[in-house]
Symmetry: C3
Subunit: 416 residues, 3 copies
């Protein structure tokens, strides 16, 4: 079947990429300009640039190397996620600019940061279908996923008057449910036996550990980047909360991993996902966290939920719902995101004296979750049905989790 697969990449991927990229260049030429005046007083390069760089590291390196644990899929995991990231970021910058559009969309480093936050939601989704999709499908997922996320953000901000920060932090929940629906739609009978390629070895485990460590280290940046620069104390507070939650998650993930293993051993891939749970949960609920113990308790609960999800939910999802979630995004981002949402609700209500305000807040908060889940699942189903189309030449079952289908290995040829 080699020729078919070869043809698929050449006649589908290259035209699609060139068409989209040239289209983007034309759209950028017509609608954008670089903002080269600094808009806010006192804003300097040193204030803004490191924040962009940290988010860039998370998006490019962190998410890019997270998927490299797949023993025969490392090249694809790292390069395809870079492709998805740059397509999604270019598209998100245009979409984010539409609202404030007056003559030209003005791009600056803040636009890049906002766009990369949207990109993160797509990279989360990509985890659910990693190894079971070809790059053409991934590019389509990236465009439709970003569109859905920006739509969701717009709905929350415009209809429900949700704060910008909170609407963007829905990215974990959006990404997880969007990806889950993709995985569910794309599931094919008889593909289970191919999942035996879905394994890791001593070296690839370390590569994905590297990606994880970068996510873990820079997660405080990811959570604090959208907090208003005018309140440095608040921003530093978010950094402390996130660090503490991540620290607690790491310890808890190890404990639960050992407890839930039949032989009392640790599992590297489980741990890699679960040590991030605290960061995700605090990200969703950070605007109401004021005490260290709150962040730590959220981190503890999130890691427990995530670890148990990893151990039992992933296999259950496969058997009961026929939904194969490669990187277990439901447990890694979905559950901690929902937990963070719940923590936000409880802490906010606890702080409000007035019953009426509390109930009003609860209704709004629940609505924003329901809208996010509904939009993410429906966009996921639509996208899944579109990319299932044979026109995109989806990989055969036996090509799952395998670089061979997409990459030249010229080392086997003599003389390179």
């Amino acid at each position: 079947m080699a020729p078919r697969s070869a043809a698929s990449l050449r006649s589908r991927l290259a035209p699609l990429l060139l068409f989209l990229q040239l289209g983007f260049i034309v759209m950028y030429a017509l609608f954008t300009e670089i903002q080269s005046k600094v808009s806010v007083d006192g804003e300097t390069f040193a204030n803004v640039y490191p924040e962009f760089q940290d988010v860039n590291v998370i998006v490019t390196l962190g998410f890019g190397f997270l998927g490299t644990f797949l023993v025969r899929y490392g090249f694809s995991a790292s390069v395809f996620s870079l492709l998805v990231a740059v397509m999604a970021t270019q598209w998100a910058m245009l979409l984010n600019g539409i609202e404030s559009y007056r003559g030209k969309i003005r791009l600056d480093v803040h636009s890049l940061v906002d766009a990369e936050m949207c990109t993160a939601s797509v990279l989360i989704s990509m985890g659910a279908v990693l190894g079971k999709t070809n790059p053409v499908q991934l590019i389509l997922i990236s465009l439709l996923g970003v569109s859905g996320f920006v739509l969701n953000k717009w709905v929350l901000q415009t209809l429900l008057k949700v704060q910008v920060l909170k609407s963007i932090m829905m990215l974990h929940i959006f990404g997880a449910f969007f990806g889950l629906m993709l995985a569910w739609i794309l599931y094919r009978k008889g593909s289970e036996q191919q999942f035996e390629k879905e394994k890791f070895d001593h070296k690839t485990g370390l590569f994905s550990m590297l990606g994880t460590v970068f996510l873990w280290m820079f997660w405080p940046s990811f959570n604090s980047v959208l907090v208003d620069d005018g309140t440095p104390g608040r921003k530093l507070g978010v950094v402390c909360s996130t660090y503490l939650a991540l620290a607690v998650s790491a310890v808890t993930a190890a404990a639960v991993s050992v407890l839930s293993s039949p032989k009392g051993k640790l599992n590297l891939i489980h741990m890699q996902s679960c040590i991030l749970a605290g960061g995700v949960a605090v990200g969703v609920s950070m605007s109401v966290i004021h005490q260290p113990w709150e962040a730590m308790t959220i981190g503890f609960t999130a890691a427990v939920a995530s670890s148990i999800g990893h151990r039992y939910l992933k296999i259950h999802m496969l058997l009961a719902f026929q939904c194969h979630d490669t990187c277990a995004v439901l447990s890694t981002y979905g559950l901690p995101g929902l937990l963070g949402w719940l923590a936000h609700l409880l802490l906010q209500i606890k702080n409000l004296d007035d019953h009426t305000t509390a109930i009003r807040f609860a209704v709004f908060h629940i609505c924003s979750l329901l809208i996010t889940i509904t939009l993410s699942m429906s966009m996921g189903i639509i996208t899944g049905l579109l990319i299932k189309w044979n026109f995109w030449r989806p990989p055969q079952n036996k090509k799952y989790f395998d670089d061979q289908a997409y990459w030249e290995f010229p080392n086997l040829a003599k003389g390179k």
Copy 2:
């Protein structure tokens, strides 16, 4: 013996981690709060956060990947060092806060930085026993090591009125001697033949090279982070000195490695440790370094001492003192630390015109070293005796340097 080892992790590690983590959460709830007001005028997010992030990279990634050269111990080296780091940091933040305790310990990013400096000393110690301890023992080492280091810091600052910066920079010496005592106490007859697993290959050598490069690149941050923000010129001077010392160390380590090799070849593991020697030595002596050539000479001497130590001292320590030092922390941190201490003494005395002051300084300086060494060695012996207890189920000789005892490898099972 698999069941015994399995039981050991489940019935010891999980309860210990959960107990400690829940205990920390309770203590943080009772005694701490997040400092969300910025205390110093003119301090902004951009001034503080990148410094924390650099130290965080050193502690999490640098030390974490330094130990991954062990060919069958990569998962353990990277994950256990993360666990040790987060436990030690949580504990150090509490201990550091006791002194200034009034009602509540106020946590901010500076507390995180201080705590991570203490953590670095434990991660250095961990290098001496890497691969020969189980995670339960490592957790105990992290708590006792941090306690000892904070005690030492307190003694130096309170009794001898040593500057904060200098007392913290004793971390290299403290860590090395603490670790050495652990390795000495834990030594078991007949374990030498297991050390054949203590090797590296083409790929694991590159992983630990990666950790080394991160340490090397961010060492200027590590040295400059504690210098007072009010003197940016001084801080930048420390950065230059550290860079120069590190550069000289890299060149010197290569030269000595070739000279001392029977076949005139380089040794990757030796070089990885010795290129850091200049950074360690400058860290200990930085407050008196004012000229580039001083930093470079210190870097040169430290690299020579460290390289020779690596080549001859490690094997001598094993044969003569029955002390097996996995990562050669004596040569990597101990000798350069002592050299830095000596350089400090000489440069300071040279600068002082007055004999009386010079002698007084020398006495104080020697006392601070003796106290540090005494405290680190006695804490090391106490900790070593405690963790040697069979209750903690220390690994058998044949399980040394082997991930198999602690990690699931589910890829061998079908369908994951």
Copy 3:
């Protein structure tokens, strides 16, 4: 032949390194001092240090790991590039200081940044001869290359009054042509059959991907670091332009890689080089880029040129000119650099209303390119002839691309 090779390293490398390093220490002692006063008002640690650190990451980690794809040459690629980097940086700081020399050269973090930019040009050249030179030769290349580059910078700035920024950004073109000449001079008949070791595998491909990703992520820092701090808006504009050009390059490189492959597959090593093309081209032309689409078009063109160069030029260079360019530096840095130069010319002329000024600018611009190419090629030929000398014991053909000649592998010995 083992003894000969062994002797070569011991009797050549160690004395050379020690002699040069001690020489540097003496020169630094005589001619330099650390600038510990902050010179410019309002300049703080947080403004300057992160910029140095980003460039340091590019030079140390990015270029260091870029060459690790060679399956049996990873240790050498990463460590030798570190050695080259620190020698070149120490030498460049001295050379850069000569001009402003009055009594003492004052070193600060800006000197480090400038020196590391010069170092980058040597690391690019090193890519052309990677695996075919011993470390002694590489050290000589680093010193002579930096001397040539500083000379070129001085000629451009003094004779042609080229701006500092533009003269430094010639580093890509200088490095590529210097390296190319080295590779041409060093070519030996009959070495082709040894090039079969010049291959990558699943793991080493990921290591070099890691280096690439770091270059890709921090390239905006590399381009913006020399832009005047007084114009933060301009600096942030360069960041945006560079990011967009890099994003477009990534997409375009994938498309062209698939189109030009006989089987319609991607090639990892080609892509790794070509995704950087946009950053190189924008670096050379950044002072005239004001619109996003300009940056994106430059990124697109550079990636197309670079990808086609990779696919066809490398093998053509070998067969027609007997010039074996290991990392294809001509396509990776040379062609995009020339394209950026051309884009600069065209955009500048477009902006100038006056014909006379436009022609004058064109003449100057062409002269600066010709001077750079002439100087780089003649320095390359001189250096090549010097290092071809048998006194330096160049590696035999069969030792090409092999760590074995330079590194101990003590793991094969029992008990380490």
